[in-house]
Amino acid sequence: MNKVLKEIRTSALSALWMMILTFPIIVIKVNTINMTVNWRWINLMWVGTGTFILSWLWRYLLDRKENGSGLKKTDTKESRRFSLHKSLNDKKMRIPVLSTLAVLVLVLPLLVNFYQVSIMTSALIFVILGLGLNIVIGYGGLLHLGYAAFYAMGAYSYGLMYLYWGIPFWVALPLGAVSGAVFGLLIGFPVLRLRGDYLAIVTLAFGEIARLVLENLSGFTKGPEGIAQIPRPGFITKLSLQGATIYLFYICIALVLFTIFVMRRIEDSRIGRALEAMSEDDIAAQSMGIDLTKAKLTTFALGAIWAGMAGVLLAAKTTYINPGSFTLMESVMILVAVVLGGTGSIPGVILGAFLVTLIPEYFRALSDYRMLMFGVALVVMSIFRPQGIIPRVRKHYIVGEDQS
């Protein structure tokens, strides 16, 4: 009984606090034409009850999480594991599941309309971005908040190379990756000695600087008006809008598969181990003979390669780019995809990228509130499931005598 009273009091206090806090915007509405004030008291009631219920629910969930008995934890975790992921890990299920997925993906453009294909393509570009950023954050443990600058680098290398030299998509794609990598190294050098929050702040600044440069170098980059009429990739001949969109969709699928393949190779490689050691403890990593300078630069360059490619894809998809597409908001969205999905986890990041792009697309009504939504989602996640929706499953490599 006492506990319930206490709960009521806490919730009531939260509700009251919320009512006071939101009073000016929720209740008062000034009509500037009639010079009258409209008092919407009813709204206050909604805020009050809403907060009261939410606050109660919140503490109930927290309570359940903390008191979740230790024994049950392991098996609930197992059963709660994302089912697709689980079936992929199961050897017998692997081939049927993968082939169904493959067939679905291949026939998707035939089943749905062209608009859906276009949305899917955007999501796939985001998957590549997410996986790229995952190298920096998940493997290297370096918090990078200016990732959109690398993305812009790729998009602008295609845009500019087309504008000045008429370079086609297929040439621009590898060149975009290279220019991304070069830019990654350029940003990597000055931040070599930084880590943690300092690194985050400096990379954030670099991201903004890159955008401002693009905006103000108007002679060369066409400034804020951007570059238009960048061609979509053609297949032998120029394709129709519809055909080009579907073709780009398949290109994105292929690149996503290629990215996943490379990510898995990185995880198993010597570089991957060096990055892992660096992210766990950089002083110890140095004493093991790991070249931190090289490891950090590699991280940035490897991460930037994918952003560069994604940038070329974006330019080819939208045929129009301007600096406004590469703001801090974009960096944050990619970061949200990684953190929400599961830092370091390939399936997690893929899921995260889809969520972040598809939810605002399919729930148009919500898209104005998407920052708010993702903010709430991150807070909730960091309390209830800090490793992300599909947490990373560390593969333990086997050494020494057990080596096969």
Binding site: D281, M288, V399, G400, E401
Partner: protein, 235 residues
Amino acid sequence: MLKVDNIHTYYGNIQALKGISLEVNKGEIICLIGANGAGKSTTLMSISGIEPPRSGTVILEGIDITGMPPHKIVTMGMSQVPEGRRIFPQLTVLENLDMGAYLRTDKEEMKRDLEYVFELFPILSQRRHQIGGTLSGGEQQMLAISRALMAKPRILLLDEPSLGLAPLIVQQIFGIIVRINKEQGTTIFLVEQNANMALKIADRGYVLQNGIIVKTDTSSALMADEEVKNAYLGV
């Protein structure tokens, strides 16, 4: 083997080492003792290149290694056990050991060294698949030493291996350090606050105070020294 000549190391504007000189001969166990904040860890990190000195030289087997990056110094046969162990918490015991051998390619030799460290610390062999972060403090220290040994160093630097451990474990670990020195011929440079234990196993010792070496002698002479007794041995 190792010759440190008049090194000065700074953290920003704060001078931590004010002209340290010391020498370690091949096959010796040398200890560096001093109070908290004397600059013991800084000395070690200056030698291993993590906090390079602003002036002075560090010579390892006749080669000037001052200012060399730490990963290069590791390839020259120097390996360190940093203060506070610093094992990789998410990696298993085996993976931690494997990281120690990061620069090596001689698979057969590595296997033998792995067996050797498991012989030194049988508990690690039992715990080989356990995640490093879940080991006890003593086990973590054993792992840190083993990890450094996996680099097959000719000289091993240890920073306070006794930190936070029960006397019995400290005794065991110091016993192993002597064993490594005898069996492998590894030269040992030991930094310790636990002067009593350190001087017992060391051949010679240096006493560090506020970034300056104030005394050096054989261990037995230092243990008999009145000042050292009063300040560091607590008798």
